[in-house]
């Protein structure tokens, strides 16, 4: 409980300072949230360079909000940042005229995840999982992808997701359930196809061996 109170105090302090246009508070907000926002944008639109540009724009817009005193009574700063991010992505889609069609498997800009604590086998397994999920996410519906990223990648609570997407908590819960089912079907489909192909290849190899 004391940790919660300390965190509440810090959040309240930052919010109050932001409302007074304190730049140090804003930089702190940037440091705390930039990776989450970047990740959110990246998994939504698929390109790293575009994600970089959009993330910069999102924080500048947030600063404009603060300066124009339109921060209002934002319950959480995170919610505000995500709302700005969503709007920025919609504008991006409008300008580029497309949504995510390409896989997140960008050969030129492969995202390397280096975790020193892992052994090579763990890293291999994780990389495989990463590639699988990254390849299937763009195939999901926009709203499914969004809730999955917010909940399971960026660890937002149901309450925060509901505030950001302007839905009720119940709706968000149902959406998450459907999104997970849809993603699981895609992944299982892929796994089944992979097994079928492996079996085919094994049969072919066996036949060739027999011929020899």
């Amino acid at each position: 409980m004391s940790i919660n109170l300390v965190q509440k105090f810090k959040d309240q302090q930052v919010l109050s300072k932001l409302k007074s246009c304190d730049k140090e508070a804003f930089i702190k907000v940037y440091d705390d949230n930039v990776k989450d926002i970047h990740r959110f944008v990246y998994f939504k639109i698929g390109g790293r360079e575009e994600a970089n540009d959009l993330t910069s724009m999102i924080f500048l817009k947030a600063w404009n909000h603060i300066q124009n005193k339109t921060l209002e009574d934002a319950k959480t700063l995170r919610a505000l940042l995500y709302k700005i991010a969503r709007n920025a992505i919609v504008d991006y889609y409008r300008e580029t005229g497309n949504k995510v069609t390409a896989s997140l498997d960008d050969e030129d800009n492969r995202l390397e995840v280096i975790d020193e604590a892992e052994n090579p086998q763990e890293r291999l397994d994780r990389t495989a999982d990463l590639e699988l999920i990254k390849s299937k996410l763009p195939l999901l519906k926009e709203e499914y992808r969004e809730v999955i990223i917010m909940k399971f990648v960026n660890d937002l609570s149901l309450k925060e997701i509901a505030e950001i997407s302007e839905k009720s908590k119940g709706n968000v819960r149902v959406l998450l359930h459907r999104a997970l089912n849809a993603l699981r079907e895609l992944v299982e489909q892929d796994t089944k196809q992979g097994i079928k192909q492996d079996t085919k290849q094994a049969k072919l190899a066996g036949n060739q061996g027999a011929k020899l």
């Binding site: 109170l5 509440k8 105090f9 959040d11 309240q12 302090q13 109050s16 300072k17 007074s20 246009c21 304190d22 730049k23 140090e24 804003f26 930089i27 940037y30 440091d31 930039v34 990776k35 970047h38 990740r39 990246y42 998994f43 790293r48 994600a51 970089n52 993330t55 910069s56 924080f59 500048l60 600063w63 300066q67 995202l111 995840v113 975790d115 994780r126 999982d129 990463l130 699988l132 999920i133 990254k134 999955i148 990223i149 399971f152 990648v153 960026n154 660890d155 997970l180 993603l183 699981r184 992944v187 299982e188 796994t191």
Partner: protein, 274 residues
């Protein structure tokens, strides 16, 4: 694949981060743009005020709510009392007055004080009813139902007053009709004779002992019994019959529709009782 397995795979995506070089360069850029927009660092005083208000907003929210609730309760009881006391039986807020009086009675621990309070409230109600019924603008044919109700209420209040006076006298609490009587007198009676004659001493504690001695002729000083009776500061001599009589007179006047005199009689009865 189960949902939990899928979620575990999704959690791996948390480790996907932007390039460190980009992070640093973007931070510098943002900082320069924010500085150029005229933002300044807050003064120490402003920071202190923010810190204090943040403490209250974050840590004390439940305490805040409780504090505000208690304050409203106290303020309400302080300020509403005098206001509610002015409401009359035909007002809409009269019920609030009744409720607040009941709360006061129920939160009084001494039975004597409680009975006296109930006598006070009941006699005030009866007086208010008399005042209303003495107003010809109210007491007319159009309001016969309300008049009848108020008549019943008056009878109920008078009954309450009598009952409470009865309880007060039964519990030994006394009402003195002599306002000059000292409440702190100790009375010592020595009486060894069967004819009731004896020595009566009045002693005032703390200040001085003054004794008035009246010895009847032929008194035998070989007293074999001494009765000591001390009156405490809380008790006074009982005169229930006098108050009861006045209340009965008030009832008679009320029944004969002399509301003004009935109200005066009730006031007189209350003055005796208190």
């Amino acid at each position: 694949m189960t949902n939990s397995q899928l979620i575990a795979k999704l959690n791996n995506l948390k480790k996907v981060n932007p390039d460190q070089k980009w992070l640093e360069s973007n931070r510098e850029l943002l900082l320069s743009q924010v500085s150029n927009s005229g933002a300044e660092n807050l003064s120490i005083w402003k920071v202190m005020i923010i810190n204090v208000s943040s403490v209250f907003k974050s840590a004390a929210q439940p305490a805040y709510a409780l504090g505000v609730f208690i304050f409203l309760l106290l303020a309400g009881s302080l300020f509403s009392g005098p206001l509610l006391a002015k409401t009359k039986p035909n007002d809409s807020l009269y019920i609030a007055r009744i409720i607040s009086e009941k709360v006061k009675v129920n939160t009084t621990f001494s039975s004597v004080a409680r009975n006296k309070m109930e006598v006070k409230f009941a006699s005030e109600h009866a007086q208010d009813i008399s005042v209303i019924l003495s107003d010809p603008a109210f007491n007319n044919e159009a309001n016969q139902d309300q008049v009848a109700r108020l008549n019943n209420s008056f009878n109920e209040e008078v009954k309450t007053v009598k009952e409470r006076i009865g309880r007060l006298s039964a519990s030994g609490a006394a009402v003195s009709d002599n306002p000059s009587a000292s409440k702190n007198d100790e009375v010592i009676i020595a009486d060894s004779t069967k004819d009731g004659q004896g020595i009566q001493l009045s002693v005032q504690p703390l200040i001085s002992a003054t004794a008035t001695l009246a010895i009847p002729a032929g008194f035998n000083l070989n007293a074999t019994s001494v009765d000591l009776m001390a009156t405490s500061t809380e008790t006074e001599k009982v005169e229930p019959t006098k108050a009861d009589k006045i209340i009965d007179e008030a009832q008679t006047l009320f029944d004969s529709k002399d509301y003004v005199k009935a109200s005066d009689k009730l006031n007189e009865a209350y003055e005796i009782i208190k």
